[in-house]
Symmetry: C2
Subunit: 531 residues, 2 copies
């Protein structure tokens, strides 16, 4: 490549979404959005960058990952790190007392990427949050219902776990075990690594890096490795030293209510795991915390040393150099995470606290897992666009391409709302037109010929029929009937698609096109059931 | 405000989208997206920032408006200025020979904002482009069809004009008039200001600022004030000195074809204006250029001095200080713009040119105009969310709130895909529940009472019925029938909405709720027409 040419790539840790990927991703978005709207959420859209001071002091150790805009005069701004802090700013700025909002948008983190695993520097979050002063654990339980509904709708039934814990329980354990108050958040961060390293390594970090007494670490170790359901809560409740702790007893009361409420919400109790090792890195959580994991979330390697980050490469100019996709010590991570943050809005507003609880779905990771599974299952093909009809022309010697005639037919179909294309050539070859239609898996061709046009007709042909099919050559249709006939066939196709659709919740294939469409008996459009 | 509190606002020239605004904006997006997909476009999603060198040298004088990311180590990047350059980078990077793509996303310009007029620093573009080597003006004509379809679908019929011109015609005129080759782009920029200032001022800029000879400027002045249709093209063609110019004759041949092709595409010829003053600022256009204007696009003030930019205010810390919304010399500007750019992909790729033509819709401005018109027309109310049912409880003395019973009914409705909310209080007041339902304009309430529950029933009530309506108090329904009954009523409501929908293309109201829904005779869901 000539040196004057620029490096043709996207910035490190970012990607273009196109082709099958964006079609699949849009389906995931729509699935999630449908669930959010089913729970009464409105959507908001905040700027991609916020004033820098809005983000300052909200992310603890991770603040170093924030992208700043250059100082070109005027206000200092940074790209948003998540959708939660902008949401809290929005609630405070508008003095809202309550809102359920969802927000699907990109966030930015200057982290080491692992592109194939969906760990990116620019990635999507799909957030659902409930803000307002309500009774304990009622919104928190609904969040779990939302999580379950999303993964069930994505077809992940039985393949995901909602790990949950409570900050007050965790803090209570730390207090009872004897962790000094000023070390609680850093010890909490160490515990959070238990999904990536064994207890022995976490203990080492606590004692050697964070200066915790060995016996305190050992006491912590007895508790944080525990997980279970209501049984675990009962175990905690039966421990007198824990029950005497104020923070602990508040947290346990909350978890007790939660387990009661989840009994009302289908599929939730089977999906949750009360996991005392879950801590979550961010400072702003105050109550329940959630993290959804699935196959591939944890790193493959189990060794202790291997789990430590490798030396950074010095070269690192292109994204390939630094990508950690092949690193067995890097898992996909959680596919959704969230929790209760009752003090964040109050950090912005002088008008008191607005309690909040929410969940954020990591769509890039959900996409990566879905894509890998589809490849393994050899799922059916995806149509790249929505075009239903390709208008083409065909003729022998002296054929002039029938350009304006093709344009007029296209115009008629567009005006009827039918997605239609033509080849942008004055005298196109028939082969080129068919190839274009096949490439985009377009279901119907309308073929113009000079003689048929004189008779006021065109040929309507279903694409992809076998050689032996009686309608392989298509049928002649009066131009005046063309729109109605195409609508009739598209409606039939939609009904067949509906019937042959896969049982899994996520619709991957836009159209499974049976050979029966062309020959099915016509029904007037207006009486086709809408179900 | 205490000094420790941060300034609660979005960065200058940006805004939050929420409430009615985002509902209306989403409807505009969907209208545009439907048209794009009707013309066979696929969508792509590129990163919000690109490597800085990708953007360098593409925007001429406007390059100073590009936002850079801070240099925090690693690659230098900038926020995208438009969607066109990232598209060209994408086409070159992937070695594509042809693609029709649409892209709806935010772009960034460090310009002086006028928020109420939709002139923002962060704003949305909706782009549709056709890349590929095709025959002259066939894709260009389809772009005009797309523009017309979008504005007709938005209900702007008769209220917009597609100004069009051809870079080769403009350059031909400049050459024939005697503009030196190295001044052509800067003289072109001056001509482009004719929509904001009178010819006398543009002439002054040419002569005094850009050093053009007075007689050359006068010759230009004879041509660039002309506008019309095919008649104008014929006038140009009949001028021997113009016809002899190579660039001019190529441009005129193109425009001749275009007028021919537009005859095939409904509503297009009425919408276009061949306008020799249209020049467009960006360097990369090589053929036809488009700009769509409407009422409010041009500034209000007609004076010559007033049209010049005012002195910049020094203070300018908050967006209010610098906002130009009240400045009569600032119009909304164009609501869509685009053109042919045959050399841009080749600037990135060593593999030769991929000709492109496209259009970009400015949704923030379209939104501002639509909103102002709706306010003037007192358009019907917008529902903030999609919730169809509010589940509430009611009881006398000793009422325990029926929380779990409400949760179970909600769960049943959610599982059936019905958007449902409950008040997150253990013992809610009836008034608070009704208020919440009314606030969100939720059409139905399901009311639980202890006695009814024992009988396996709940009360289903349509909200907003008048005091005298026979079903004002709602009807008792068996819990086992609840889902079916709600579905039946929602289907009827949808049909009524469809029938009472306004004639304008854009559906502003999500639900016009007649009083007839409760009393309409039931029909089995499966035979309701889908039309």
């Amino acid at each position: 490549m000539a040196p004057s040419k620029v490096d043709l790539k996207t910035p490190k840790g970012t990607r273009d979404w196109d082709g099958d990927a964006i079609v699949l991703r849009e389906q995931i978005f729509n699935t999630i959005k449908t669930i959010f709207e089913r729970h009464g959420a409105v959507t908001i859209d905040t700027p991609v960058f916020e004033l820098k001071e809005i983000l300052t002091g909200k992310y603890g150790e991770d603040s170093k990952l924030i992208y700043d805009l250059a100082d070109q005069g005027g206000e200092l701004s940074s790209l948003r790190y998540d959708l939660t802090v902008p949401f809290a700013r929005y609630v405070a700025q508008n003095g809202l007392q309550q809102i359920r909002r969802y927000h699907i948008a990109k966030v930015y983190r200057r982290d080491q990427p692992a592109v194939a695993k969906g760990r990116m520097r620019e990635f999507y979050q799909c957030d659902f949050d409930i803000a307002g002063t309500y009774d304990a654990m009622i919104p928190d339980a609904e969040i779990i219902k939302v999580i379950v509904s999303v993964f069930e709708a994505l077809g992940w039934s039985g393949r995901y776990t909602i790990k949950m814990n409570h900050r007050k329980i965790l803090d209570g354990i730390f207090q009872v075990c004897g962790v000094p108050e000023d070390k609680i958040r850093s010890i909490s961060s160490a515990v959070d690594k238990l999904d990536k390293m064994p207890w022995a390594d976490v203990r080492k970090e606590m004692v050697h890096e964070k200066g915790l007494a060995e016996d305190v670490a050992d006491k912590i170790g007895e508790w944080v490795v525990l997980k279970g359901g209501k049984d675990l809560l009962e175990k905690l409740q039966s421990d007198a030293s824990l029950a005497a702790n104020e923070s602990m007893s508040q947290g346990m009361a909350d978890m007790g209510l939660l387990f009661e409420y989840l009994e009302c919400y289908k599929d939730t109790l089977d999906a949750v795991s009360f996991d005392l090792s879950l801590a979550r890195g961010l400072d702003y959580y105050t109550g329940i915390i959630y993290e959804v994991v699935t196959e591939g979330s944890a790193p493959k390697a189990e060794g202790t040393e291997a789990a430590k980050p490798k030396d950074k490469k010095k070269k690192g100019k292109t994204s390939e150099d630094d990508d950690r996709s092949d690193d067995p010590t890097v898992g996909v991570g959680s596919v959704a995470a969230g929790g209760r943050y009752d003090n964040l809005v109050g950090m912005f507003s002088g008008k008191g606290q607005i309690p909040c609880v929410g969940i954020s779905f990591g769509v890039d990771r959900i996409y990566s897992i879905t894509k890998a599974r589809m490849a393994a299952e050899k799922a059916a093909e995806v149509r790249p666009n929505k075009t239903d009809v390709y208008v083409m022309a065909f003729g022998g010697k002296g054929f002039d391409g029938l350009l304006k005639e093709r344009m007029r037919i296209c115009d008629q179909l567009w005006e009827a709302g039918i997605s239609t294309e033509l080849l942008h050539k004055a005298k196109p070859k028939l082969q080129a037109q068919f190839k274009a239609a096949e490439l985009s898996k377009i279901p119907f061709a309308v073929i113009l010929g000079q003689e048929e046009l004189i008779a006021g007709q065109v040929r309507l042909k279903q694409m992809g029929l076998s050689e032996s099919h009686p309608e392989k050559e298509g049928t002649l249709i009066a131009i005046t009937d063309l729109v109605d006939e195409i609508r009739r066939r598209l409606d039939q196709m939609k009904r067949l698609d509906h019937l042959t659709q896969s049982a899994s919740g996520l619709r991957v294939v836009d159209g499974v096109r049976g050979e029966d469409v062309a020959t099915t008996t016509a029904e007037p459009t207006t009486t086709i059931p809408s179900a």
